[in-house]
Symmetry: C2
């Protein structure tokens, strides 16, 4: 069941109370792919500019990540983001952002990706997300992320997308903005009326909740981490862990999604334990499985 | 195993997006007692002024709450609090507060309360909390609450108290203030070094976490409530549910405390569903047990 992700590949500069890293690899598709590849092979679609140092993408070496869909675009520049968590470790303040290649045409999906069954559309313009879907033959599970900007400026396009996807992953602020509801359970139920069969609301350090059209409500705390170095990519790693596990299961019943969300939570806990991809690079599937059981244990009563 | 609570009894005026209630019953000891009495008989210690309308305290009628320790002090006025949740449903803004009788001497503990085994010291000046303890013969479990004001102004007195209690319940902001730690797990471990054998950090709508000297970390989301009318008293009801259940168990192993915290979470979910005590008055132990299982189910994966 091949898993396809499309999203950003970026060069990040990050400041947190634990230190600063200059020009490290980042971007939603990068965190997602790495996280998902603990579970399942991944097909990556994205673009960088001709300024992107080759060694930055060495992170994919040795991982089961197909990068045929990674376009190196001549004359373009790579997406760059400079964020700071000095004031609040739980919320990035964007110091500077250059969309660069992200503001250009969407990257092309290679022909041999068209049979992908599991698809994650990381956050980008909803029209581009729709465009991706058109190229796929018969996807079984489509999950998308979105952001405030599109909720505010592209509501019609977003509404169309919501009718084409099975699951939506978004954070608490976005859920409130999208629905006008202050209460997250009510907000999640409103989102279901817009099309998706399940919605996952991410609450950062406070975990997540999931509501499905089976009338099921699921609440999950974050993994109780005592070391938070850099929260960048936590949400994308969470989605990667979730989708990676789902792709191994071939079903998306509420029970399967719940286990998947716990895997997403665990994978994200590795991401935040170090800068850039270092936390993910330092772990493996065995440690993830072990921590998954620890999470289960820390919640049991 | 009699359960004793000492704390405030107040006349509240509350505004929330759902409406406004004028001069309704409130106060930490009132919410605590009502919540705990679903599980176990309660002995209440507190004081009101001679301005307190008798019918305000009718809430205790028919409940297994001993009010011999409830002092009606001539010439004094009852504690009054006016709070607003109009800007943020999760955090009260104090519009007006009159300590009145709370700023006077501590209420007297009746002689027949001295054999109480389970004790909850709701938030007040740590010296007064200590004074209460001196009157007790052989308490088996002492749990206290505190607040920013005492952490900032009465640190020495608080330090003494922390060596006399078994458990501390406080909210996330207070835990950070008390320890200087931003991370809540690290903060909880720091608190353990100050004396208590377990610490519960309340995170409001985001649930709670508990760390004990058994090296145990427990994380619990709030009950997924789709109706939040008035959060006043949620923390005290949470503590009441927890202590009420613990008093029925006669042990405080981590496993017992975890089940107790889930009961506290459930009881608090009734409190926030209506104004003042109306949410608690509309439920019973059977419904609480049912919702306890629903919470367990909503967290299982």
């Amino acid at each position: 069941m091949p898993l396809l992700v499309t999203g950003s590949i970026g060069i990040d500069t990050v400041e947190t109370p634990a230190g600063r890293r200059e020009s490290v690899v980042g971007g939603s598709a990068v965190y997602f792919s790495y996280a998902a590849s603990f579970f399942h092979p991944v097909r990556l679609v994205g673009a960088v500019g001709d300024d992107c140092p080759g060694e930055l993408l060495n992170v994919f070496e040795g991982r089961d990540i197909d990068t045929d869909g990674l376009e190196r675009r001549q004359g373009s520049k790579t997406f760059r983001w400079h964020g700071s968590y000095l004031e609040n470790i739980n919320e990035a303040m964007t110091v500077e952002v250059d969309l660069n290649v992200l503001a250009e045409r969407a990257p092309k999906i290679p022909d041999h990706y068209r049979n992908s069954k599991y698809v994650f559309l990381a956050n980008t313009h909803p029209a581009l997300q729709m465009e991706m879907l058109c190229c796929l033959e018969s996807p079984r599970l489509i999950v998308a992320d979105t952001m405030n900007l599109w909720i505010q400026t592209q509501r019609e396009e977003l509404a169309k997308l919501l009718h084409k996807i099975h699951g939506l992953v978004l954070n608490d602020g976005e859920a409130k903005l999208l629905t006008g509801e202050r209460n997250l359970i009510t907000a999640a139920r409103q989102v279901l009326k817009m099309g998706p069969r399940f919605v996952v609301i991410k609450k950062g350090e406070h975990g997540c909740l999931m509501v499905s059209d089976h009338e099921d409500v699921f609440v999950l705390p974050a993994f109780p981490a005592d070391r938070v170095v850099d929260p960048t990519g936590a949400g994308d790693s969470f989605a990667g862990g979730m989708m990676g596990y789902l792709a191994t299961q071939g079903t998306f019943s509420p029970a399967t999604i719940k286990r998947a969300l716990a895997f997403g939570t665990v994978v994200a806990s590795y991401t935040i334990s170090d800068f850039s991809l270092a936390g993910l690079r330092a772990t493996d599937r065995d440690h993830i499985d072990e921590r998954w059981h620890e999470l289960k244990q820390a919640m049991s009563f």
